[in-house]
């Protein structure tokens, strides 16, 4: 009898799922614009009322966004139209080039939430992949492994090189 009870107990324990909250965390900006940002440092991403994606006034597909964002954030070739890079001395990594990138995401009132989140997701993925590459290069570990092993100093160092700056601009109306 006790065996059956234990079996039942284990069964319930396994099947019951506490629904975990999943999502994309974002920090809303303060009310007014803080400071002026140089145009070359900003990647303007716009989702219009027909759920089309425009990056710097060029129409692209959502699949292209991730690579484009990665190129922009890194500016590995030091192009003049991409963000300015400055050398920073970051603990654990040493001197490293850090770009002053900001991604500005703007949407229309009739943009669908699904598309908006898909775009947010692609931008987050771009940062994530860059961080992952850097983590593998310096620490021989994936970024996720660093985060889950609570190596806070290493995670902070990687975040300092690629800080996630997604600014949610005021929507436009036309």
């Amino acid at each position: 009898m006790a065996d059956i009870a234990f079996l039942l107990l284990v069964f319930f324990l396994v099947t019951t799922t506490v629904d975990t909250e999943l999502g994309l965390m974002r920090l809303l900006p303060f009310g007014e614009d803080s400071g002026v940002v140089h145009e070359r440092n900003v990647l303007e991403v716009l989702v219009n009322a027909d759920n089309e994606l425009l990056v710097e006034d060029q129409k692209i597909t959502i699949e292209e966004l991730r690579q484009l964002a990665k190129t922009f954030i890194q500016n590995a070739e030091d192009r003049a139209d991409l963000p300015l890079r400055v050398e920073k001395d970051i603990p654990l990594l040493g001197p490293i080039m850090v770009s002053k990138q900001v991604i500005s995401l703007q949407n229309h009132g009739r943009t669908s939430y699904k598309t908006y989140v898909a775009v947010q997701n692609e931008l987050a993925a771009a940062y994530h992949e860059l961080r992952d590459d850097l983590s593998k290069r310096y620490f021989n570990q994936s970024y996720d492994a660093l985060v889950s092993s609570k190596a806070k100093a290493k995670v902070a160092a990687i975040r300092a090189v690629y800080p996630q700056r997604i600014s949610e601009a005021e929507p436009y109306t036309q």
Binding site: E21, G23, R26, L28, S112, V117
Partner: protein
């Protein structure tokens, strides 16, 4: 006195049989497990969250407050997206009082860490979400979460 008398007069064992006690305990346990209903927000709106492969888990649920946006469950109320706070429909003007009412219920040190999770149906237009975001900004609740499912479209 009593015991002496008892043991003398009867030949049966002195202790009660305890072999069925675990069964009783387990039965009680199951009864409570089945009967307990956790307090949950009764959803009045239908929400199918959008997919996002970068979805992260929210670590501390005590910091999270919810705002629901989606078409009403009850079809009599039409299919336009509505806002739900707590257990009732609300208007955009109720967002700020809601946040200001929720905040004092948290310990002071954690109040700044409040996360507002936006549970929005994927078919909703951004206008409504933007309005809510503006209200949250005014209520200085700046940490938000776009609730989503991990999905499995891309690696």
């Amino acid at each position: 006195m009593f015991q002496k008398k008892y043991s003398r007069s009867e030949k049966e064992p002195q202790e009660n049989a305890t072999s069925s006690l675990p069964d009783i305990v387990f039965m009680l346990l199951f009864f409570f497990m089945v009967a307990t209903v956790m307090k949950e927000n009764e959803p009045l709106v239908k929400i199918s969250p959008p997919e996002a492969s970068e979805s992260k888990k929210l670590e501390d649920r005590s910091l999270v407050r919810h705002i629901f946006i989606g078409p009403p469950q009850n079809r009599v109320l039409g299919d336009q997206p509505r806002l739900q706070l707590n257990d009732a429909f609300a208007s955009i003007n109720d967002v700020r009082p809601y946040i200001e009412e929720q905040r004092p219920q948290m310990p002071e040190v954690l109040q700044e860490k409040m996360i507002v999770s936006l549970k929005v149906d994927q078919a909703t237009q951004m206008q409504m979400v933007t309005d809510v975001k503006q209200e949250l900004k005014k209520a200085s609740a700046r940490k938000i979460n776009y609730a989503s499912t991990p999905g499995n479209d891309r690696p």
